[in-house]
Subunit: 172 residues, 2 copies
Amino acid sequence: MKYGIAFFPDKKIQDIANSYRKRYDPHYALIPPHVTLKEAFEMDDEGLSQANSHLEKVSREIAPFLIHFPKLSTFHPTNNVIYIAVEETEAIKSLHEKINSGVLFHERRYAYIPHLTIGQEMPEDELHDVYGSLRMKRFELSTWVDRFHLMYQLENKSWTIYQTYLLRGSSE
Amino acid sequence: MKYGIAFFPDKKIQDIANSYRKRYDPHYALIPPHVTLKEAFEMDDEGLSQANSHLEKVSREIAPFLIHFPKLSTFHPTNNVIYIAVEETEAIKSLHEKINSGVLFHERRYAYIPHLTIGQEMPEDELHDVYGSLRMKRFELSTWVDRFHLMYQLENKSWTIYQTYLLRGSSE
């Protein structure tokens, strides 16, 4: 079964993201607006049990943290994706690295860039139009990250939640 | 904000349900196949905090249980809904009743009938066609219920998970 790990920003931010995703993201109906912490990976039932223990442990080690979404960015020309950038803090990098360790360690093809996708698989000219008109826009958005979710993918490519992990570490 | 509480059956059952929902359920893209434990209700942030404590307590009192999905049924003529019936056991009734108590008590318009919707808002003739051709079909499906989820609704009517509650009661 295919699993993935992500968190959802505040409802307000999800609503803003959806106003773009509706037009520019073919995954709009498959999953709510999210910030991926671990890309899709295959796992069997035994792996799931080990992953659960691992994620429980991670959730006890990290304290809730605030993140900012300052502006739009794009992965073009590597990928025709437009996203709301997530400020790259130590906290989110640490959460990502701890999740992607131990039994859940996989080599990544790209460096981790936390982001909230609002458009993907976009035709070249549409991407340039949309990014050109939105790139100067400032997003004064922030959200508390106090939990993350392990999800699995159904046959129709949509995602169902398996479990929430609450961040319970103490802040320094 | 609008919240709801449900559990998701095994992936296999969700995939079967989606094969029907894709054609017959306009909510197909808004939420994965689910069994509602508490219908949508309004709650503010203070209510959320109280609800969370309440649901934590409920999850400690109920042990995981197995449920069967024996056959199709319909709420017609009250509602043009077709669903996979959920065997009405004491365990699921108790889970429903405990959730719908204390700070989360609301009067219900109908008696609670646990079900997995596969079609709704169906035109009368389509409902009769589909139900007529499927009603004799036996579903030999069952799933362990070992968790439930509190969800909230976005502006586009889709649902995002807020939190998972693992059933941790001891079985008798």
